[in-house]
Symmetry: C2
Subunit: 456 residues, 2 copies
């Protein structure tokens, strides 16, 4: 809250200074961090659509700072801003950006603009940019940076330290150093800490760790994040298909990946498709599209419940009191099932459980679900008795137990089944589980009612 | 998968070596990383309950390594292992652990054991441990480490670098240096990178950044994580109520916090209480407890739907065909509502949307939900027509539109309402939204049916 308020005050002051006092503006901008400036600019466009002010504020920043701020802006705003820039101005910014941000921005441009920019670049820069921009989104290649410290093996610790000092201003991180052989293969790694406390005349070959945790360019970003989280790494090196070192993924990018993957899983858990821009920024049409597909699909899934009800229409007509408990029973099954599927999906995503644990989990779930079902049957029994006497109470209690048990088991198994079919287990969302279990619930409830109530 | 297989092979080899070949065992253990050894040990206990093997494997590790492995073990296993250790052996491990891991392990011990250990410690160590262990779980104080590099202001860059070299072996990170005044107040910060490229004779006071991003001991860990993520920090310093520097929270702990918070939110989203040990490890009783409370509560919530149905019993008895569409309609409302609440809750958690955006979001949701409702009405209309002719089609289509609209708006508003009541917005879970919307759905559907069908 204090942060938000501080930013709000700053925004007002910046806008006044922009019109009246360039010196004050420079001072204000110096006080702010790049991430905060980026948020202010986003707010300006978002709430007042102040593109001209945003552009002049950006022009007021020194070039390096401006490039840094660009890196913090969301893609949609970067795309709108660079539309207003000349090729020279854009190129100047691109050259100051870190290599991963540069590739991301490049990928936002149209074909013509890309060509125009590439033509103005030196050969090496051009090839580098094209290569980084070519990796598929969501892979290590797409999140890695090529601004790392690579040092040839054969140097001593003191020579290496000198190299680190020289490359420090440009590297994304200097705290983990990568040692490469003559061809550029990853040969070892050393932390700057180890380098600092090493004997200055010691050779890197003796000091370095040779068994380096590394990843491939095409590895999925969530796998990369898992490596970094598991081994508490500062960065993980990325090699290409020839085992040549081509980049590193740093801890701050890993945090972004973990956040984004959790958001994606949470959205999937509610049957919402993957949103690229976050809910506040997504165009309405996009939000509609990402929600409607599953909703309509589930409508048709729900027809099974309808069919079940049509089949049991006679008993319903004879005992309308049964309908009273219908939402309660099918919802309870759905809720218990959603719990089971959510626990399973998240357990699989964090690596807490593995696919091979299937059998063990099923046994545990059977016990828990039976206990849950009986507790809930107990809770609902008095109401059953009040609404329709002893027999209805028995029908409702039995149905509750069996529906909760079935629901939980379906919820537990669905992620494993989906995985077998080659789908993302996270698709086993609450709504899907609920819809599936509804049809089971209808059949179980009215089936039991038919058996017990029509024999009276 | 390759990682899993490699670990599996290693486990078998370790067990053989443990029995027959101590030298081979030492070699194998040296090859493994601490995180992997910890996982192997966990597996051993988990699948074969091999506590004696686990203890002898641990004893085979050099003390520093053993302490490091302990830090990677889950709490429940640490607690079981230290039960088997003498006070001396436990103390030796504690002294080698990083200060945050040490405090966590200490908090797992019983009162008597704690007293026995504290008595054997030096005064300063004892006070330090008691202080770190006293911070409330889930706050900056509880995740921070006191192994940081603090350097008095007034030194030069080269003097500071010498200090860094001396403290390097013990510090959790040496890459961000904190400058303190004589009383120990946080005065500034400097990255090791800046220190390395600074003029050796420059004073820290001139080099350091004075406006340090920092946090308080009692700040919630998710707030700390948000700071680190927002500003791409390596670590964030923590000060106490007197603004004295007392610790730092490092990037690797932040990753753990982000994972744990996402898991907690995902579980809450399915109405599951907070599990401390993960689903695979939680005792059955615990899992039951964390699930049953909400389920039973929702049973009573569902009674409102039942009451609605009881109220409309006449129209249901007269037109049993209506029941066919009941699960379909109330589920659709629940699904759309779950989507809206999930998008809102996650947006609030990631900071993508703020509480003040309430009005704007409502406007957007109104448009999207109307479009969704009409699409779904269109999808369900033919079925309505087939089951009961034109009038039923109109009833079902109208109900669908209004229920989806209502459901979406309830889903959107609920997190804000809960927040106003001082509850966690994440409590606005799918099951809660579904249950709420069910009662609305029942009233809307049978209300429309009564008006349109009884007038014929």
């Amino acid at each position: 809250m204090t942060l938000e308020n501080a930013l709000h005050t700053h925004k007002a002051m910046l806008l006044v200074a922009l019109e009246q006092d360039p010196k004050e503006l420079t001072r204000l901008l110096e006080e702010l961090r790049a991430a905060d400036i980026a948020e202010l600019l986003e707010d300006l466009v978002d709430q007042q659509d102040e593109m001209p002010s945003v552009l002049s504020l950006l022009e007021h920043l020194p070039l390096t700072r401006r490039a840094h701020v660009y890196g913090f802006l969301p893609g949609w705003l970067q795309a709108r801003l660079v539309d207003q820039l000349s090729d020279e101005a854009l190129l100047a910014i691109l050259e100051e950006m870190s290599s991963d941000d540069r590739a991301d921005l490049y990928n936002l441009l149209g074909e013509d603009r890309r060509e125009a920019l590439l033509r103005r670049m030196a050969h090496r820069e051009r090839e580098e940019l094209k290569r980084l921009a070519s990796y598929e989104e969501g892979t290590a290649g797409a999140v890695m940076t090529s601004n790392y410290v690579a040092i040839p093996s054969g140097l001593t610790a003191s020579q290496a330290l000198l190299r680190v000092r020289q490359t420090a201003p440009d590297a994304e991180t200097v705290y983990q150093i990568y040692i490469v052989d003559e061809q550029g293969h990853l040969a070892g790694t050393l932390s700057l800490r180890q380098l600092l406390i090493a004997r200055p005349s010691a050779y890197l070959d003796e000091l370095m760790i040779k068994d380096v945790i590394h990843t491939q360019v095409e590895t999925l970003q969530e796998e990369v994040a898992r490596l970094v989280a598991r081994y508490d790494l500062l960065a993980v090196p990325v090699v290409d298909e020839n085992e040549l070192l081509v980049g590193i993924v740093t801890h701050d990018d890993v945090i972004d990946v973990i956040q984004a993957e959790a958001t994606e899983d949470i959205h999937k858990g509610a049957s919402v498709g993957n949103l690229e821009d976050g809910v506040s920024r997504s165009p309405l049409w996009n939000l509609y599209r990402k929600r409607v597909a599953w909703l309509v699909l589930l409508v048709f899934g729900n027809l099974f419940s309808g069919a079940g009800i049509a089949y049991f229409e006679d008993i319903i007509a004879a005992q309308v009191a049964l309908v009273f408990f219908l939402p309660l029973l099918i919802d309870s099954g759905g809720n218990a099932g959603a719990q089971a599927s959510t626990l399973t999906v998240r357990g699989l995503a964090t690596g807490d459980i593995a696919f091979k644990d299937w059998g063990k989990l099923l046994g545990r779930e059977l016990l828990i679900a039976a206990a849950l079902g009986m507790t809930m049957a107990l809770a609902v029994s008095p109401i059953g008795f009040m609404r329709g006497g002893e027999m209805l109470m028995i029908v409702v209690a039995m149905s509750m137990t069996i529906i909760v048990l079935t629901g939980s088991l379906v919820g537990l198994c669905l992620p494993f089944v989906l995985d077998r079919l080659g789908w993302d287990p996270a698709t086993a969302s609450g709504p899907l589980v609920t819809t599936l279990i509804d049809s089971f619930g209808v059949i179980i409830y009215f089936g039991i009612a038919t058996i017990l109530l029509t024999n009276i």
